[in-house]
Symmetry: C2
Subunit: 465 residues, 2 copies
């Protein structure tokens, strides 16, 4: 296997396939096959998204994949270059279609004409919807699994509210959901207010969660947009308020994608392979029987699987008889299973199980009555360890720049004061290839712009994916 | 609401929207919006599909939506008219694509080139995969929600085996899965061997499950295809057997779609609205507090919800205060919730709950300690009642034809002996508009063909969706 530290990019490309997440050999660039193991990780994530969204009163819907040119034209007003990113269907069978239709690049233009029909009075608000779908972008840049695909899994929440304040409150709710998800992913992040020129077209402002890969590049993993009335006006989404007057709704969106799978692969993995967060691992505990002539280690293993499964732990016996235990250890380490149980004749004789973690050396042997607790404890430990490691890594990668030279010298992300002007961030980009991710939202700290010296706030500059 | 008996078609079109399953107003013909309530029914169904498939050793994957013309060309060899049913992408952004790509109409041509890479030796077999995706057909006929859409939810299992017998055994497994699903849907069916000219292009044979709607038309709800080596040869899917020789794999598929949602709507509903099978109902028990000045019926209702939810029953309080209990009863009857609990001051005072079923008159009042059992019992009863009713309906609709005149006189499906020749079934179609669904698989009964008088087997003739 490639060495992660020395060649992150090659290591990453290898691991996504060898761990069984995807197969890249599908004949269309940027469109990969989700293999059973990778798909289970994604579905486990979706299940958590649904649980958290439902608890916040968001309702799941599913809009059609196709969007007519007429629908999209409203959005093209906002963003001229957008059309270039869209796949177009021009033929049905052998007929030329009267109107071209696009594959959804995102669903504003699919949803908002319907919002205009659904919303009549203040009693219809807030309207809070989300969907889990695939989206399509005609990427001309180099593609990379999960990080830049032409087809990717997407979560998009769209809400409509009576006023700006209520829309603002929704964005706070989004952050709650995101915080829970980042905890499940064990992926730390920094929140930025994107610069004006980098916000989503049509947004009042865009907040984004960025994480950082060992390549020292940032990866946008979630976005939270305040649309104000910028979409409700062109799409004519109005409601009658308590006073009987017609008003435009205020809207927000929250987006995430299968980039998150890329983030967890890149951040947690090591030279042995993947390391999966226990909450998302398809198999949390792999049980490996060590063949023995004295005792039935397979039968005993099956019993352990039964005990753990009945407690809601995703445990599985590797019963393949054509592989040695050593081969199996490596195989499951490569696939990132958090906890391993070894069953030899000693364990069978003493009614015990020997537990090992993916992320720490050493094993412990426990009696069956302590099995569930010990396994849960090990899963918790794995989660703690990989979270701590990821947080430390991120802190190490992001360096505070003492000045412009310092900022330029360090190839990774830099923290620095910035006045907010594009010419200053352009100057930085020119000298360092690092773009401005925006002001840090979580810190209020004033200082002098690293370029022009005028008053500024703390911002992050980074090369990005 | 429309009268189901008198005008099934209008009743159906109305109910799918008024019960909140879908919204048909999306601006593309045959592509509808899955509303929260309808989507939950579909997701509950998917969850059951996953559980049953996983138990049979089928693994879930997700293949890209797009298929190149080159990939599809292999399949066009089998089926000349197929190209007419496909949507084609010809542009990415403003670029004309080098090669046209289609939206998946089904995934043989996406999957099988990969099967050829994945399968090497007999140890790689059986390969058993499935996916839950949306598929796209350029329908030129009149569309109807769930029954004939241009975008619909689809289940497709694809397996590869060492020989014909093992492929045959897989089809038996499919039938097990389907039987469990039809039980969950409370939808009865008849199994047919499709006539040669109506089998899936490239299949050795196609078996299909057909159900019958109150319109007296049949609806194909599941198909099970034996491909033999008809796909493995053009796609070159081979394996090395135990003797070291190269052999072609034998393949099968199993398909189902969101037509099943159409089937349960059409079969179970009545003039009050939808009736949902308890296993699929998003809300199994709706709890309605009757406002009272003497007691807090809402708080008491919330407690019932908590008790039932903790037992894994999908219960929900309707706490809307702008609607009367009567309005709410009608509303939830329309949405097909199987069981209703009414909470008035009498129930609060006596620590009881009054339970009503969607499908039977009468109520019963039970003490809290019997709540869970009584609710489970009511859910079970609803399932029994709607299943029995559906079976009786189907038996009534399908009539045994005493002779050709009899067959022609009855507009609904007819059972009759048939020799297997196309000219005989064409004759029937010409006279009655009923097509041959094929021989009944489940009955072995010989008799004289209703047209030519030669030896034949029992077959069904029906107008179809």
């Amino acid at each position: 296997m490639e060495n992660k530290k020395e060649n992150f990019s090659e290591w990453y490309n290898e691991i996504v396939e060898s761990a069984g997440l995807i197969d890249k050999r599908y004949p269309i660039k940027g469109m990969n096959i989700w293999m059973p193991y990778g798909l289970k990780v994604a579905l486990n994530f979706d299940e958590n998204v649904r649980r958290l969204c439902d608890a916040k009163g968001l309702n799941e819907v599913s809009f059609p994949l196709l969007i007519t040119r007429k629908q999209l034209n409203v959005e093209f007003e906002h963003l001229k270059g957008f059309e270039k990113q869209v796949f177009w269907i021009t033929k049905g069978g052998t007929d030329k279609l009267d109107e071209e239709m696009s594959l959804r690049p995102t669903s504003e233009s699919a949803m908002y004409p319907m919002f205009a029909m659904w919303i009549r009075t203040h009693g219809d608000l807030p309207l809070k919807l989300y969907q889990l779908v695939s989206v399509y972008r005609y990427e001309t840049k180099h593609t990379r699994p999960f990080l830049r695909d032409r087809e990717f899994r997407f979560f998009e929440a769209h809400t409509a509210h009576r006023n700006y304040q209520e829309a603002e409150a929704e964005i706070v709710e989004y952050l709650d959901i995101w915080k829970s998800l980042s905890d499940i992913l064990c992926v730390p992040y920094v929140l930025h207010r994107r610069p004006e020129w980098d916000k989503f077209a049509g947004a009042e402002y865009s907040n984004a969660a960025d994480t950082f890969l060992p390549s020292n590049r940032s990866l946008q993993v979630a976005t939270f947009h305040q649309y104000g009335t910028n979409f409700s006006k062109p799409y004519d989404i109005t409601y009658v308020n308590e006073a009987g007057e017609k008003e435009y709704v205020h809207q927000t969106t929250y987006g995430m994608s299968s980039r998150l799978i890329g983030a967890l692969v890149g951040i947690h993995g090591d030279d042995k392979g993947l390391i999966l967060p226990p909450d998302l691992a398809p198999t949390q505990v792999i049980i490996i029987p060590i063949p023995s002539e004295k005792s039935d280690t397979l039968k005993y293993s099956m019993n352990l699987e039964k005990i753990l499964s009945s407690k809601g732990i995703r445990a599985r016996v590797d019963s393949r008889d054509s592989y040695t235990p050593g081969y199996k250890y490596n195989d499951w380490e490569m696939r990132g299973v958090p906890v391993r149980i070894e069953v030899g004749e000693r364990e069978v004789a003493a009614n015990t199980a020997t537990i090992a973690m993916r992320v720490e050396k050493g094993k412990k042997t426990v009696g069956l009555k302590d099995l569930e607790d010990s396994v849960r404890d090990s899963l918790r430990r794995v989660k703690e360890i990989i979270t701590d490691k990821a947080v430390k890594q991120m802190k190490k990668i992001i360096k505070e720049a003492a000045g412009l030279n310092d900022l330029i010298a360090w190839k990774g992300p830099s923290l620095s004061y910035w006045c907010g002007l594009r010419e200053c961030s352009d100057h930085i980009e020119e000298k360092s290839e690092k773009v401005c991710l925006g002001y840090r939202i979580d810190v209020e700290s004033a200082g002098n712009c690293v370029v022009c010296g005028k008053e500024g706030r703390l911002a992050t500059f980074s090369r990005t994916y």
